[in-house]
């Protein structure tokens, strides 16, 4: 009964055998989106290919990797060829990829985003580096196809809005593989012409058609162009890389002219306004100056020149009067001041000064005496206090009250336990000492 059962290895080998001998699985063409992409350090790629509902593991060995023209990334849509087989270790089936190419539009978007991010990081889209579009361009360079709607629209719009401008067309391919190098070449050529403005663009088309405007070198050449640039790519997607790099982005070639040049009527109107303002301001100034002139000529002096003399005469008299009056006053003041000084107290009784000083001296002497007594007391008082304190502490006084000091061979006895029979003791009293013996 045991024979019914086979091992996992046997089963896996069987499944692998079936896979490997399948005509379809042996050489498969597969379209999918890359996810979980991992480039192993040894050169192999491991990733998953998926669509909306399914996925399959994929391996691309380094020998095939070396033939792959791009660095795969998660989210890229790819076309691969290879064979599907079973990896016995995991029991999973997977595709061994032989060739891998990018799958059209899906990858254009990714390349676009990658380039956009890269150039943005370099600061190529920085508003600060954008050149100002001149207000009244007179020579305008145009890089586009010499035939087709774009150039026709540009020139007819230019004629309508700003006919005094002269256009120079730098003809270029604007679609296909050669378009980008052609555009780059013409931007460089145009840079050598004295242009006020350079428009680079084309009419609408499919995203692949206008892909040359997403070319990195086109972007870089445009960014380094010394002439103010307007991008004018008619398109449905939001922006091309050229739009981000150009100093101004127009949605269509016609738009580029509408944004890049003024309308002649607006400018004529502006000039008319300026003329009016000029006239108004000069007339105003003339009026003001004229009025001032009238004011001057209308003055009394100019109308009655003699009156000027009369006024001066009068003024002179008035001044003379003031002068003599002033001198008299000055003398009087000085006189009065002198009289006042002579009249003072000291001038009349000089001896008073001596008497007063004597009085002052007596007062000073008295004060000095008082002060010295006080100072002496200040120093002797603490001394007397110390003396009386010393007195109360004097042991002789204590002994006068009947106390005595007992010594044995000089040592003071303070306890009965210190002495024994027959010890000779000296007893000091207030007025002398007794030698005694302990019995």
């Amino acid at each position: 009964m045991q024979d019914k059962y086979i091992t996992v290895t046997q089963l896996t080998k069987y499944i692998k055998f079936r896979f490997d001998n399948d005509e379809n699985l042996g050489h498969i063409f597969l379209r999918g989106e890359i996810s979980n992409f991992k480039a192993h350090s040894r050169g192999h790629y491991y990733f998953t290919l998926k669509d909306e509902t399914s996925r399959i593991n994929a391996v691309m060995f380094s020998s095939s990797v070396s033939k792959c023209k791009f660095l795969p990334q998660d989210g890229m849509k790819v076309l691969v060829t290879g064979k599907v087989t079973v990896y016995e270790a995991t029991g999973g089936y997977q595709i061994y990829v032989n060739t891998m190419t990018e799958d059209g539009i899906g990858n254009l978007y990714i390349a676009f985003e990658q380039l956009k991010e890269k150039l943005a990081k370099e600061g190529l889209f920085d508003p600060a580096r954008k050149k100002t579009i001149p207000r009244y361009p007179e020579t305008i360079g145009i890089i586009t196809a010499p035939t087709g709607a774009a150039i026709r629209d540009i020139l007819s719009t230019l004629k309508r809005r700003w006919p005094l401008a002269r256009a120079i067309l730098f003809p270029s391919l604007v679609q296909g593989a050669s378009a980008a190098p052609d555009i780059i070449r013409q931007i460089k050529v145009a840079s050598t012409y004295p242009l006020d403005l350079l428009i680079v663009g084309r009419g609408g088309g499919s995203i692949e058609d206008m892909w040359c405007f997403n070319d990195e070198m086109v972007a870089r050449t445009l960014a380094s162009c010394p002439i103010p640039t307007i991008s004018a790519v008619g398109h449905e997607i939001d922006f091309t890389i050229a739009d981000f790099v150009a100093d101004l982005r127009a949605p269509t070639p016609t738009g580029a002219i509408e944004m890049g040049v003024p309308h002649q009527n607006d400018v004529l109107q502006l000039i008319e306004q300026i003329e009016k303002r000029l006239e108004k301001s000069i007339f105003h100034q003339l009026e003001v100056e004229n009025e001032y002139l009238h004011q001057l000529t209308d003055r009394y002096i100019l109308k009655n020149p003699l009156s000027m003399y009369e006024i001066k005469e009068q003024k002179f008299d008035h001044l003379l009067d003031r002068l003599s009056l002033g001198m008299g006053q000055l003398i009087d003041i000085r006189k009065a001041r002198l009289a006042k000084s002579i009249d003072t107290y000291l001038f009349t009784h000089p001896e008073r000064l001596y008497m007063e000083k004597e009085k002052e001296l007596a007062h000073v002497l008295k004060t000095l005496q008082q002060q010295s007594t006080l100072t002496l007391e200040h120093f002797t008082n603490p001394y007397n206090q110390v003396l009386s304190k010393l007195e109360t502490l004097n042991p002789l006084l204590t002994m006068k009250r009947g106390y005595s000091i007992t010594r044995r061979e000089g040592e003071v006895i303070t306890s009965s336990k210190q002495v024994k029979k027959d010890d000779i003791l000296d007893i000091t009293l207030a007025d002398g000492s007794i030698t005694s013996k302990v019995v």
Binding site: Y136, S156, K159, P163, R166, I282, H284, Q285
Partner: protein
């Protein structure tokens, strides 16, 4: 018409706008003001003429050999 380098339209209009501002400020002495007024009116006329008399400008195309040639966009059939 031999005179110093001709100013561009933009330079002329800028000059015009500056003169108007100067005159409107009222700080220009009368003699200067009149001189400036005359100059400005001349410039204004120049710009005006340039615009009004502008025939359709001759546009050019750069040939492969580097020469410029008159260019007219082919009208739509």
């Amino acid at each position: 018409m031999a005179k110093e380098k001709e100013l561009t339209f933009e330079e002329n209009l800028e000059k015009l706008e500056q003169i108007v501002k100067d005159l409107e400020s009222g700080n220009t002495p009368l003699d200067d003001a009149i001189a400036k007024f005359n100059e400005a009116m001349k410039i204004a006329k120049l710009c005006n003429d340039k615009l009004k008399k502008a025939e359709e400008s001759v546009h050019q195309i750069l040939n492969e050999d580097g020469t410029l040639e008159e260019f007219k966009a082919t009208e739509e059939a």
